[in-house]
Amino acid sequence: MSVASPIAVSMPRLSDSMEEGTIVRWLKPAGDSVAAGEPIVEIETDKATMEYEAEAAGVLEIVAEEGTTVALGEPIARIVPVGASETPPPPEPRPSSAPPARPRATPIARRLAAEHGIDLAAVSGSGRRGHIVKADVEALAPNGSEATPPSPTPTPTPPPTPTRARRHELTRIQQRIASRMAESRATVPDFEVEVEIDMDDCMGLREELAAHADPAPSINDMVVKACALALTRHPRANGSYRDGGFELHDEVNVGFAVAAPDALLVPVIRDANRKSVAEIARESRALALRAREGKIAPPELSGATFTVSNLGMYGITRFTAVINPPQAAILAVGAVRAKPVVCDGALAIGRTMSATLASDHRILYGADAAAFLGEVRDRLESPIGLLV
């Protein structure tokens, strides 16, 4: 039989930050023939869900079942090339190529193991049919386990779970958000500076641009552009504090936060300093749509050197945002509001917007942050400069 040796398909690196991926769905059943370049599997990374293509033609053998999470580089499938022989290769009986079985464990044992970070594969089950039960996990838990007193009085355990609470496991993206945000708060010495920006001219310009650009640039597109221009003149705001040094980036890539179903995604406008406001508007519309539909590709979510977060559309007047490490800063933008302002010594009705910059004090100090934010304000208050 002229069957060549199988080609291993391992968990690919689909985003620069991924360490593992989850098999969402096999697009081809085991035993089917696949062509090189044909999508065979959907993989969820910490950033997005993507299709992955077969690198060679042959018969697909699945190693990692749907729902399993596999570390980068670990095998997820094999492709058995079919030789020139007229006899088709006998399909492997599927059970023999089955992945290592999921440990048999009861729901509460699984929950407690997850809470204590215990790998169920290392636990031996004492329950019926060898199931790992609560007692088996508790025996390995560092300090006992969830209190189940025989008395009806509840023990005051630290996180008092409301009796009607339901637990939802995090998606990969939510896990990533949780760890990045906690990392930021725990490790970044951040501080905030805030300005009130007169948006009268910006609003006027936007109305004029609406007649010339489709889609009409939004206030956020102008903020992105103003930041990008200011970042070129404040390299540390466009840098990263990393391993005891400053990394100052050549590219100015501005991310903007998009609320997607059950996730927060930050699509990136690359080289935003070199794109026109109209280009930024087109690109941000398309990226935001793909993000909300869950179709955005990891490269479109990576490489940001600075982030803008805008909650103005919710009528939020001002807020502070959490820095996305290793970026140096994040700008939190509120709504444009009509309010009384002092203009040439007289009271007038102005349209203003609050902008709050959170900075990593290891790289961007108070005066630097103030100077950068001041330039952003100046550029938005004289917006004609955004067009040239």
Binding site: T106, P107, I108, A109, R111, S126, G127, R128, V133, K134, T148, P149, P150, P152, T163, R167
Partner: protein, 333 residues
């Protein structure tokens, strides 16, 4: 010196007697309930005390009994009827399921149906396949109908009073094997609310949920299992519709294991419904859930077969041992 114990059948009779005395609109009728005093000797003396216009015998027609009761209930009386065997409830189905249970709703909650149907259910008495059933699931799926299923004399009396005072139809099930059970009487004016289960034995290793005779089997099994270090919590449901899911769920959150014992066929039974409720709302608390029911077969007539067919304390003990990987403590023998 202990208070005189109360027999289950006397508890039922006392509840009827006291409600007939308390409220003139209460009437009671059925086959052989008046002059003969009932085939299970439950209702003796009631006709003498309350007269044959309020306590009387009927022809052998369950549909006529139930139809008359429905009519009486919507025209001002509070009838209690007896369907001699639960197996014959099927003959009264239209009056109960289509008329009595729906009336409150289709009258836009303007007309209630204060009707109680007493019926003897349960196997173990060598009555055979059509005098031994406990047809709870037939009625449990009928919105508007409550189902009460007591396990002790005290509960039987307090719950029957609660049922008679309820303004809409209640099916009150009396397990034949419990009629001669004696227990503490409780206070004479006790009226129990419907829809509440009771934890009759606290425990930490397993929640055992059941009703009627099953409660006695469960308590006996719990005693036996305690000698092996298995601490069983026993819940007496007391009402099978509405079901007190909260009490069950709260218990399972503590014990992480649930066994439901139902005297009835596995398919379509209420035990399965409770397992489903707990799986839906408490999956993350579960180490094990299972049920002990009868096989999907008619109840055998042969005494040894009938005994083997029914859930019993012994079968509960064996089943719990199997699920908890426990072995019996060796006796000295």
């Amino acid at each position: 010196m202990s208070v005189a114990e109360l027999e289950f059948r006397d508890a039922v009779r006392d509840a009827l007697d006291e409600e007939l005395a308390r409220d003139e609109s209460v009437v009671f009728f059925g086959e052989d309930v008046g002059k003969p005093g009932g085939v299970f000797a439950v209702t003796g003396g009631l006709q003498e005390r309350h007269g044959d216009r309020r306590v009387f015998d009927t022809p052998i027609s369950e549909l006529a009994i139930a139809g008359a009761a429905f009519g009486a209930a919507i025209t001002g009386l509070r009838p209690v009827i007896e369907i001699m065997f639960g197996d014959f409830l099927f003959l009264a189905m239209d009056s109960l399921a289509n008329q009595a249970a729906k009336y409150w709703f289709i009258s836009e909650e303007q007309a209630s149906v204060p009707l109680v149907v007493r019926s003897a259910v349960g196997a173990g008495g060598r009555f055979g396949a059509i005098h031994s059933q406990t047809p709870v699931p037939w009625f449990q799926g009928i919105p508007g109908l409550k189902i009460v299923a007591p396990s002790t004399p005290r509960d039987a009396k307090a719950l029957l009073k609660g049922a008679i005072r309820d303004d809409n139809p209640v099916l009150f099930l009396e397990h034949k094997r419990l009629y001669s059970v004696k227990g503490e009487p409780g206070s004479s004016d006790e009226v129990a609310p419907l829809g509440r289960a009771a934890i009759v034995r606290p425990g930490s290793d397993l929640t055992l949920v059941t009703a009627m005779k099953g409660v006695h089997d469960a308590l006996a099994a719990a005693e036996e299992l305690a000698t092996e270090g298995i601490d069983v919590e026993v819940i007496d449901l007391r009402t099978l519709r509405p079901l007190d899911r909260d009490t069950v769920l709260e218990s399972v959150r503590r014990t992480n294991r649930l066994l439901v014992v139902e005297e009835g066929p596995r398919t379509g039974g209420w035990a399965g419904g409770i397992l489903a409720d707990v799986a839906e709302d408490g999956l993350e608390y579960l180490d094990d859930v299972w049920r002990l029911t009868t096989a999907d077969a008619p109840i055998p007539y042969s005494p040894p077969l009938e005994d083997a067919f029914l859930p019993s304390a012994e079968r509960i003990v064996t089943s719990v041992r199997k699920h908890l990987n426990s072995t019996p403590v060796n006796s000295t023998a």
